[in-house]
Symmetry: C2
Subunit: 304 residues, 2 copies
Amino acid sequence: MFPSHVTLVEVGPRDGLQNEKQPVAAVHKIELVHRLQAAGVREIEATSFVSPKWVPQMADNTEVMAGIVRQGGVRYSVLVPNMKGLEAALPTKPDEVVVFGAASEAFSQRNINCSIAESIERFAPVVAAAHEAGLKVRGAISCALGCPYQGEVSADEVERVVKLMKQIGVDHCGVADTIGVGTPRKVQLAMERALKHYPLVEVSGHFHDTYGQALSNIYACLEMGVHTFDASVAGLGGCPYAKGATGNVATEDVLFMLNGLGISTGIDLEALVDAGAYISGVLDRPPVSRVGRALLAKREKASA
Amino acid sequence: MFPSHVTLVEVGPRDGLQNEKQPVAAVHKIELVHRLQAAGVREIEATSFVSPKWVPQMADNTEVMAGIVRQGGVRYSVLVPNMKGLEAALPTKPDEVVVFGAASEAFSQRNINCSIAESIERFAPVVAAAHEAGLKVRGAISCALGCPYQGEVSADEVERVVKLMKQIGVDHCGVADTIGVGTPRKVQLAMERALKHYPLVEVSGHFHDTYGQALSNIYACLEMGVHTFDASVAGLGGCPYAKGATGNVATEDVLFMLNGLGISTGIDLEALVDAGAYISGVLDRPPVSRVGRALLAKREKASA
């Protein structure tokens, strides 16, 4: 059942940086994307078209998209929260757009002030317009393994959103453990529900490493044949030293495991570590990635 | 194949602290053991009887063993490098002793200046004497997944040491990924070799999280039915911020996964996090455990 190839969707430039407190200049975001694609990354979530009032870090979305020197074979996606976001995104020519919904009713109410069903319904015209423009639409189901407000989230609740996304024509279904509380068997149960409605090739996992569980969760997904995962270079998207850390799984750590399993990705680990070191240097803190830290320490030792 | 119960062998007081640069007073080590057993830990590697010239941190071994108020049902083990160590250990009344050998010839030569075969042979009278004293002997095979000097270590090399340990009467076989480079399939291949010569109940895994792989490796072992693992509270035994970090997997992180999988351990997570916070306070740095950090941050937020 193990896949021979895995696609890693790099979400560092968007999900990774969006909550970063210190402003990161567009030039650095663009350079990060360049380094990622040079390392062999073929899917990059580059930015989002969300109101700068809510996510000031992504206010430079158009500048970032314009500054990226596109590389053949690489797909660039952007997150859009609504039609206004899509309209702003379209002129920047992304390959895909990402829409989202929570599996937890409590989270949906608290976060976007409407029910899950309403939130997905509002995306229906966005999906239609994206398709009209020739774009693929990825759907992200947040809080699929747990919610900061309601606690446990059942597989039934996950499947409900999967079906709603399918109904409005979303092409791809990403199951996201936003708060990192998932463990392997629970993740498999959630994934099974996505796979009831989407083919293997259009299901992906998005795991946070807040509780250190992300790699075992990915391993459990690999055993089901799932072969697309989001990951964030240097573990961007939540510093474990800070309170309320969210902690996207680090791309380097996932790649190390995949390399060990003999699963190809097309990504060069050393070049990826370089990309992580680059953005960590911009942020002036060490990468959260354990592989990044270990390999950088090894290099330093070798050159000493 | 999944076990319903897992035994976690807490190695923080010994393997975790042995390379700690700042001296830790015996009273703190004793208190750590008390907190661990109060949390429900039932196997504790308490100290080692190695020359204080080599491991100054463990020079207080007799004091530590004498200071621990033993709890019924808890087994206390100590590491011994030779007959002299065993003789020093016996009066302190451990339940088990731990002997060791490397799977890598290069490591054995560099580390203890003799071949693997010689190193195991030297343990034969130690094992016999330990048995005579009524103690169980655990064997630890270091560098079973990789070696800092020779790089790759094959399953054949692992099996060779397993057989040598079996020949001298070692009761239990622990497969240790000393440098943390193992990934799930390779770990399973190494474990298979241990299981050719030892029953499931006498095989354990010892994983380092230097590259973030420990939990997925443990998960892969669980799938084989292996149900005993070493772990180190707060991730003692290698700080990822430091060069040459070794990074024992944190007991809290393993327990979080096992709890999620519905596998019992008898250990209370919150009490374990307390024990990790205690020793982290002594060392004046945050726990390396991701679960420890996340739960402590949650508590702080709740009380704010």
